[in-house]
């Protein structure tokens, strides 16, 4: 008798898998019993055969259990259970107030930052999109191949517009010159200085203006369209249609339409009026046929079938055919979708621009959010170890794994939900402040489905990711082991947490270094010697008054003014340039560009430039009307070491160089000073009066005096002045804005990281209470314990610093390359950032570690 023979195991397995689930137990048992019987009666071979045959006959691979248990396991998502989950989650939050505050607060701040950045990016990306023909509008630009690479210009001759309209009617639906200009609009006694455009008739059609009153037609050369805001100020409740307004210099025009103000995120925002170009050109109609005078921006709208690239290729030669400029300029179209984000031209191609900031801030936003999520995950995993016992008890009492998973997930969903609501509140509160900082008018996208989708998608994702570790890992514990205390959560669990801390601090340290360097770059440019004295300089924008000399005498007599001068542009900009200067030994193929500034003789003394060689202008010498003053950059450009006395030919006239001044920073403070030529040229219009206020008088008092004199001479024009130092400061506004935003984000990132560290440290201290107690009993000092507990974190931050340094160096070095005048990245910046991060870490961790180290060992060891 073979008592020990066993049926084939594969058959038993097969039956177990594929037999009917409802009868599995008894069938298996019956077969085993029969097998023993068959072995006794037929022998093992036959028995095996019978057994296998029976098994094969009993397979029911498609059968489903029809078993209905006596007590139904509760439906996981039944309302009662859900309520219970939320209740327990809520109790847990309340019980661990510090953890909850850190968790929710950090996450809310991170979400709020991400939302603000998201709004900002959204706003940037939607720029100009409000124009109905957004995809078909373009500006015509000109590329000039010059000595230092191709330069791009937007000012074009007027007849080009006519030529494009006539010759390429199949491609262009509308072509229009639209030149922006500040004018003083007047109706009866009301006056208003506003920027608007003098344009050809097609411009309002091209923009598809929304008309509130009247029509878009601009064919009548004495008509004018007003923006609603302008109309409201000028006319109030009156009906503006057919009223006559003065559009500056006695150009009377009849209001034929009122259009809705163009939105803030449009390139044409602030266009207060649109008047026919013919109105502006009445005094000099010749400009409309002059191919030599390039000063007009031209806009086009394509027909639906035309493509920008193809049309660009078609029209590229048109300007040269008309102007015969020896530089051989080419034309191309710059689509509206690139205007805002891709406005930097390098070698004639639109490349970077604001789009870089869109990327930069998107990345920062994502990282800040990531930091907050990391906190959330770290804290919930760290804390979950403490809940292993809870899991054990729950299991013993009868929780199914699914219920434990739901329990943990609902906790993290609750935290994320609270954080989300809080972050909405934060965004709502800080939006006006953020708008001010970013110079925008953003609003919450309450009605944008994408916003809600992103918000909910993200919240759910964070909740699931952060909740997944406790939910899936802890719920798998065997209750017996947990309750015995056998489960040791080992190193492997701490490793990802440490990695996440390193990642957090890498980001934070990079942001700190970045912020320091951005501010240093700004400060570097601010400290740059500008070559003249800005203090007490004001610029008044006015076309020629005619009685300048009398005004000057009057003003000087009041004592409020030290000196004053006229010039073709303010000291903070250069408005005109020339590439047709000829000097001794010039290579005839060179296309050297000079900025040209016409000045009156007192200009130099008023702004306080410093003469390096030769002399400044003098009214007494009549020859000075044909004299040049160069700056150092211009001297370098022409390559003559001592140019004083040289003859320069320009427009068929011979100018003598009488002096050289030190470089004046009039344009971007981040770029090298352009070659400049100053002249006393009476033929050109003087647009600006620059006044040096008497420093012994207060600015307010002096300005009142000056205003009175101005009103006497020119009562129709409002007295509108700008301080040169304030104007100069606006050149930094872009960089300062980035610096401010970056520093705020850096502070928030560091804050969130420290919050996380604080939570982790307190968890560590708590988990090691017993160890600390034993160590104290054995004689460890507080300093010992403090360093024991702080060491781990310091090492992590040290690693983060080592990773962050090269990353920050790489990106900031790239960023600085775009500035010609730039600061150096010095080693101490890294040291300071590193020490700062280290100090913050120690500060954060020490609170917890010292508290743990000071604890009475009796207390910590007594409880068991």
């Amino acid at each position: 008798m073979n008592q020990h023979s066993q049926p084939p195991r594969w058959a038993t397995r097969l039956l177990h898998w594929l037999g009917h689930p409802d009868t599995r137990e008894e069938v298996e048992g019956d077969l085993l019993e029969l097998y023993a019987h068959w072995v006794r009666t037929h022998g093992p071979r036959k028995a095996n055969w019978h057994y296998t045959l029976s098994v094969l006959r009993l397979l029911r691979p498609l059968a489903k259990s029809r078993h209905v248990p006596e007590y139904t396991t509760p439906f996981l998502l039944s309302p009662d259970m859900l309520r219970n989950y939320v209740k327990i989650a809520w109790r847990n939050l309340i019980r661990h107030k510090v953890y909850s505050a850190i968790n929710i607060g950090g996450l809310a701040v991170g979400m709020a930052v991400a939302m603000l950045i998201g709004l900002w990016v959204w706003d940037e990306l939607s720029f100009n999109k409000s124009h109905p023909q957004y995809d078909r509008i373009a500006q015509v630009l000109e590329n000039q191949p010059l000595e230092n690479g191709t330069q791009t210009f937007e000012s074009l001759p007027f007849p080009l517009s006519t030529k494009l309209r006539r010759s390429y009617a199949s491609d262009f639906k509308y072509v229009a010159v639209a030149v922006p200009m500040d004018i003083t609009l007047a109706y009866n006694e009301k006056k208003l200085t506003k920027n608007g455009r003098f344009s050809e008739a097609a411009f309002p059609e091209l923009l598809t203006l929304t008309m509130l009153k009247g029509s878009r037609k601009l064919t009548d050369p004495t008509a004018v369209l007003l923006a609603q805001s302008t109309s409201n100020v000028l006319f109030g409740a009156e009906d503006p249609i057919n009223k006559i307004v003065d559009t500056g210099d006695r150009r009377m025009a009849k209001v034929t339409g009122v259009y809705e103000d163009l939105p803030r995120n449009s390139q044409f925002n602030g266009t207060a009026f649109i008047a026919p170009f013919a109105l502006l050109a009445t005094s000099s109609p010749g400009i409309m046929t002059n191919w030599k005078s390039s000063s007009f921006p031209i806009y086009v709208q394509l027909n639906p079938a035309s493509r920008f690239e193809q049309v660009s290729a078609k029209i590229s030669h048109v300007l040269y055919e008309g102007s015969k400029d020896p530089v051989k300029p080419t034309l191309f179209l710059w689509p509206m979708r690139q205007w805002h984000l891709y406005a930097d031209f390098k070698n004639g191609v639109a490349g970077g621009g604001r789009v870089q900031f869109v990327w930069l801030f998107s990345i920062i936003g994502i990282f800040v959010l990531l930091l907050a999520c990391i906190n959330f995950m770290n804290l919930s995993t760290a804390r979950s170890q403490k809940r292993a016992k809870e899991v054990g008890i729950r299991k013993v009492v009868g929780s199914v794994r699914g219920q434990l998973i739901s329990q943990f997930l609902s906790e993290s969903v609750l935290v994320v939900a609270v954080a989300f609501i809080l972050s909405m509140g934060l965004v709502w509160l800080s939006l006006s402040w953020f708008n001010q900082l970013a110079n925008k008018q953003m609003a919450m996208l309450w009605t944008e489905p994408l916003f809600w989708l992103a918000a909910f998608g993200f919240s759910l994702f964070t909740a699931l990711i952060a909740g997944s570790y406790p939910a899936f890992y802890l719920s798998s514990f065997r209750p017996v082991k947990v309750l015995k205390g056998v489960v040791r959560v080992g190193r492997l669990v701490a490793l990802p947490r440490q990695l996440l801390v390193v990642l957090q601090f890498t980001v934070s340290v990079t942001l700190i270094i970045g912020t320091i360097i951005v501010f240093r770059q700004i400060q570097h440019a601010k400290n740059r010697p500008i070559g003249y004295n800005r203090n007490g300089l004001i610029a008044i924008n006015t076309s020629s008054l005619g009685r300048y000399d009398a005004l000057r005498l009057d003003l000087l007599q009041t004592g409020a003014v030290v000196n004053m001068a006229e010039s073709s542009n303010p000291t903070t900009d250069v408005w005109s340039s020339a590439n047709n200067l000829d000097w001794r030994g010039k290579d005839s193929n060179r296309q050297a560009m000079f900025g040209t500034v016409s000045v009156s003789e007192d200009f130099g003394k008023t702004i306080g430039w410093t003469i390096k060689e030769g002399r400044g202008f003098s009214r007494k010498l009549t020859t000075d009307s044909l004299a040049f003053v160069f700056n150092e950059a211009a001297v370098k450009l022409i390559g003559i070491q001592h140019p004083v006395g040289e003859i320069i030919r320009w427009h068929d006239k011979e100018f003598t160089v009488i002096g050289v001044v030190h470089d004046l920073v009039m344009q971007s403070p981040f770029e090298p000073v352009k070659p400049m030529v100053f002249m006393m040229n009476n033929e050109r219009t003087m647009n600006t009066i620059t006044i040096k206020i008497n420093p012994e008088q207060g600015a307010g008092e002096a300005l009142a005096t000056i205003r009175a004199v101005f009103q006497k001479y020119n009562p129709t024009v409002p007295f509108d002045y700008k301080f040169a130092d304030q104007e100069f400061a606006t050149k930094f506004s872009g960089e300062e804005r980035i610096g401010n935003l970056a520093s705020i984000f850096a502070i928030l990132a560091v804050f969130i990281s420290c919050l996380g560290l604080f939570g982790l440290a307190s968890f560590m201290a708590e988990a090691r209470t017993k160890e600390i107690g034993v160590r104290k009993v054995l004689g460890a000092s507080v300093v010992n314990l403090w360093s024991l507990l702080s060491k781990d974190f310091v090492v992590l931050v040290g690693i983060a610093f080592c990773i962050a340094t090269p990353i920050a160096y790489y990106f900031l070095n790239n960023w600085l390359q775009q500035y010609q005048y730039r600061t150096e990245i010095t080693w101490w910046i890294f040291v300071v950032s590193g020490l700062g991060a280290l100090g913050l870490t120690l500060l954060t961790v020490s609170y917890q570690s010292i508290r743990a180290a000071l604890m009475n060992p009796v207390k910590s060891l007594r409880s068991e």
Binding site: E25, V27, G29, D30, L32, E33, A36, L53, S54, R57
Partner: protein, 112 residues
């Protein structure tokens, strides 16, 4: 009146369960049928039939206690339900009626 329909093998299984009284489960039913009828019935056939009879409501079943010899697996014991008993009685009555209706010469031929 609707009569219960029982197949021949079903009837045998049902009767065997009745015969075995308290001790009817897969193995005993199979062995009992083999012994009593001399037919080599497979366990799978018997098992399937037992399941079907339970579905039809002629049998009820409950699990017994754990036993050592079957690897701790319990047995499922079958008992007749009232419907099951009635079905057997019905079948028996039909047979009796048919037997009684047999003509005497046929009975004689059969040795009665």
């Amino acid at each position: 009146m609707k009569r219960a329909f029982l197949g021949e093998f079903e009837e045998i299984v049902l009767l065997t369960v009745a015969v075995l009284d308290e001790a009817a489960y897969g193995v005993t039913v199979t062995q009992e049928i083999e012994q009593k009828t001399g037919r080599a019935v497979g366990f799978s056939t018997v098992h399937t039939t037992l399941q079907r009879l339970e579905e039809k409501g002629y049998l009820a079943s409950q699990m017994g206690g754990a036993t050592a010899e079957r690897g701790g697996r319990r047995k499922r014991f079958f008992t007749l339900t009232a419907t099951g008993r009635k079905a057997l009685v019905d079948v028996q009555q039909v047979r009796t009626q048919l037997w009684e209706a047999l003509p005497p010469q046929t009975l004689q031929l059969m040795g009665y």
